[in-house]
């Protein structure tokens, strides 16, 4: 018998995998835009968690849903500002390669 079922744990594992992929991208991509994209992936992983908890634990409170709305809002803002920064940097350095940016040093 095929027992395809879903439980909270499935969602959580999905979220963990997605978060891991996003983190991998954040840590290893050279392109600043790619890093931003990967951050979006991580944020979405969080949203999965929020919604999953919302459904399985507190379906009547909608806290998870509302919180994920805020997360999306913030993510949108973050993408906007992030991309603006990338563009500003690009204009100065003619590059979006993060390996070349080490101004945090010293």
């Amino acid at each position: 018998m095929l027992t395809l079922s879903v439980s909270l744990h499935h969602y959580l594992i999905l979220a963990a995998v997605l978060f891991g992929i996003g983190l991998f991208g954040v840590l290893t991509k050279r392109n600043a835009v790619a890093v931003l994209i990967c951050i979006e992936l991580m944020l979405n992983a969080i949203n999965i968690n929020l919604l999953a908890f919302n459904k399985y634990i507190t379906p009547n409170d909608f806290i998870g849903q509302i919180f994920s709305i805020f997360v999306i809002t913030v993510a949108a803002a973050e993408v906007g500002v992030g991309l603006a920064i990338v563009i500003a940097i690009y204009r100065n350095k003619l590059s979006v390669n993060l390996d070349e940016f080490d101004w945090l040093k010293w």
């Binding site: 954040v26 840590l27 290893t28 390996d99 945090l104 010293w106």
Partner: protein, 639 residues
């Protein structure tokens, strides 16, 4: 009146101190007024001192029990120090003598210092000097005495260095102070030990406690204490080996030399030992040491004085030698003889210094006795008073020195110290010789055409005459036939020896022999060829003596090599080790580790993120897989 003076003897040091303050703060711009204030202060305190002394010397009970009144100076748990006045025959005598001699010297100084730009300041220092010395004399407490002792040292520093623009004066002043400091270090240790062992520094209480010292301490420690205390007088009274400052003290104006050498500073040491004789009396070793030091210094200084050329320097070594006499007497346990010699010495030595000052004044500070001659004709008062002084110091009866010196020789002989007796006798002979060498060279013989001496003014000659009279008759208070002195000033119980005619005659013979030898060499023989030949024949001895046994050079070398060497060593150590290695080393380590660690700051965002997530992982693992209480402990949670 007498009653008042006795109960207000604190006025004696206070009046000169007041004149010091008045001169410094009020009358400094008016020279004559300043001098007047100074002299008036001293004369007034002389009057009070005289009255007080009269009171003491008419009431025999003071020889048994001194009159002491004191107030608490400061106190804390376990340490109480009083200051006060202690009147007994010894201090009364000193008070009288010091005020008297100081008054005469002050009067003399008004003439001597005429025209000096620092006239007022000089008199303020003189007043302070007098005040300090009198404070020392009346002290009822050893710490108070030490305070005065150091103040005397300060004043001598100021006065010796009075011509501070002269490098020699500056150095002499410094030398005097520091030499005395070295000695005071010992004295201070002695006082500390006394305070710690006996719990008091009051003279009367100390005397009482030390008489049965076994209850407090052992003989060994008491000996050590006595030796430490004696270190102070060695320095202050110019005993060997710390006598070096005294001859250099001649750099000060002559009244200062007189003051230092005759009445005040140098005899402070003798006086201190006299005051603490109850301590030394218990410790035979210390007594021997005092006696030997005194006897040796007397001979040693006399042997230097024989070859010196500068008039004040000869007198200075003669002072060292005479103080040695007094120490010798103390070491023999004879406070009587010692104080007696102190008393007579004050008069004739003050007289001779003032005469020397008068001579220098007339010759415009030409000091070499070989360049003088025949001065007695142009300066009769100075000259003849000088001769009186010479007779007194040589010990020719009936002048003062004879009686006191005789007393010392007698004490040495009676106590069976024949070696010391021999040394003292030899010293007496040499004293007569070098002193009359000075007199013959300077006062008699041919006049030198380049000198234009003139007699000094009245305010200088009057003190000379007064002192000459005192030098002549001052010893009569203690002749063997009328032992007034011996009945009053003594330690233990009055000692009255029968006149020993053998010693008396012997000392007169020695003195006359010395004078005769000097006459032969320096007066009768106009060319002084014999003297030169003698010096030539004993070239080595002459050189050593003339160079003061090279002690100054040795000290200088020691100071330069060891003290300054150590100073440089410590300073370099400070710069290169403490500072260089440790302080700057730690700074360098900090900086280098910073240099090293900053490599880890790559500046790359993703590096930082990587490390950040490693950290997150670590924390998460710890929080997830350990006992909750451990996690709480790690994160600093409470209860």
């Amino acid at each position: 009146m007498v009653e008042f003076a006795m109960h207000n003897a604190w006025l004696v040091p206070l009046l000169p101190a007041l004149s010091f303050l008045i001169i410094i703060f009020l009358t400094k711009p008016w020279k004559k007024l300043s001098a007047l204030v100074c002299v008036a202060g001293m004369v007034l305190s002389c009057v009070i001192a005289t009255l007080a002394a009269y009171g003491v010397f008419t009431n025999h009970e003071f020889t048994e029990k001194p009159l002491v009144y004191s107030v608490r100076w400061f106190s804390m748990a376990g340490l109480n120090i009083d200051v006060g006045v202690q009147l007994d025959p010894t201090s009364a005598m000193m008070m009288f003598m010091v005020t008297l001699v100081a008054s005469l010297i002050f009067i003399y100084a008004t003439g001597y210092m005429e025209g000096d730009p620092g006239y007022s300041v000089f008199f303020s220092y003189l007043s302070l000097f007098g005040a300090s010395m009198l404070l020392l004399v009346v002290s009822s407490n050893l710490l108070q005495m030490f305070v005065a002792w150091e103040l005397v040292g300060l004043c001598s520093y100021l006065l010796i260095g009075f011509y501070s623009h002269k490098i020699s004066a500056r150095e002499a002043a410094k030398k005097a102070f520091i030499t005395c400091r070295v000695a005071d270090f010992g004295l201070l240790l002695g006082l500390l030990s006394l305070q710690i062992v006996f719990g008091t520094l009051n003279l009367t209480e100390l005397a009482e406690k030390i008489s049965h010292f076994e209850q407090y301490t052992t003989m060994g420690i008491l000996t050590l204490i006595a030796l430490l205390v004696f270190a102070g007088p060695i320095g202050k009274s110019g005993q060997f080996p710390l006598h070096v400052w005294l001859p250099d003290a001649m750099e000060g104006p002559t009244p200062v030399s007189a003051l230092i050498h005759a009445a005040t500073m140098v005899v402070a040491g003798v006086y201190l030992v006299g005051r603490t004789l109850f301590l030394f009396h218990e410790v035979p070793t210390a007594m021997e040491l005092v006696a030997v030091t005194g006897g040796f210094t007397a001979l040693f200084a006399a042997s230097i004085a024989i070859t010196q050329r500068e008039i004040k320097r000869i007198l200075a070594y003669s002072t060292v030698s005479q103080i040695g006499y007094m120490m010798l007497a103390l070491g023999l346990g004879s406070l009587t003889a010692s104080m007696f010699h102190l008393w007579t010495h004050a008069f004739f030595k003050a007289l001779m210094f003032l005469c020397a000052g008068s001579v220098l004044h007339a010759l415009h500070h030409k000091a070499d006795v070989w360049e003088m001659g025949g001065l007695i004709k142009k300066m009769p008062i100075t000259g003849w008073t000088f001769v009186v002084g010479g007779l007194a110091i040589a010990g020719v009866p009936p002048f003062a020195g004879f009686w006191s010196k005789d007393e010392i020789l007698l004490a040495a002989f009676d106590t069976g110290h024949y070696v010391l007796f021999g040394m003292a006798a030899l010293t007496a002979f040499m004293t007569a010789f070098y002193m009359w060498r000075l007199i013959f060279l300077a006062l008699f013989g041919d006049e030198k055409p380049e000198n234009h001496p003139h007699e000094s003014p009245l305010n200088m000659t009057l003190p000379l005459i007064a002192l000459a009279v005192l030098s002549a008759v001052g010893g009569l208070v203690g002749t063997p036939w009328a032992p007034f002195w011996q009945e009053w000033i003594f330690f233990g119980h009055p000692h009255h020896a029968d006149p020993n005619y053998l010693i008396m005659i012997g000392s007169v013979v020695l003195a006359l022999a010395g004078i005769y030898l000097a006459y032969n060499l320096y007066c009768a023989d106009k060319t002084r060829a014999k003297a030169h030949a003698l010096a030539e024949r004993y070239r080595f001895f002459w050189t050593v003596s003339y160079n003061k046994y090279y002690i100054d050079e040795i000290y200088l070398w020691f100071n330069h090599t060891f003290i300054d060497g150590a100073a440089r060593l410590f300073y370099l150590f400070d710069i290169y080790v403490v500072d260089g290695v440790f302080v700057n080393g730690i700074a360098a380590i900090t900086r280098l580790s910073g240099e090293g660690l900053r490599v880890t700051q790559t500046g790359r965002l993703q590096n930082y993120a990587l490390v950040f997530f490693l950290g997150v992982l670590a924390v998460a693992v710890v929080l997830a897989f350990t006992d909750p209480s451990t996690a709480a402990g790690l994160t600093g949670g409470v209860k």
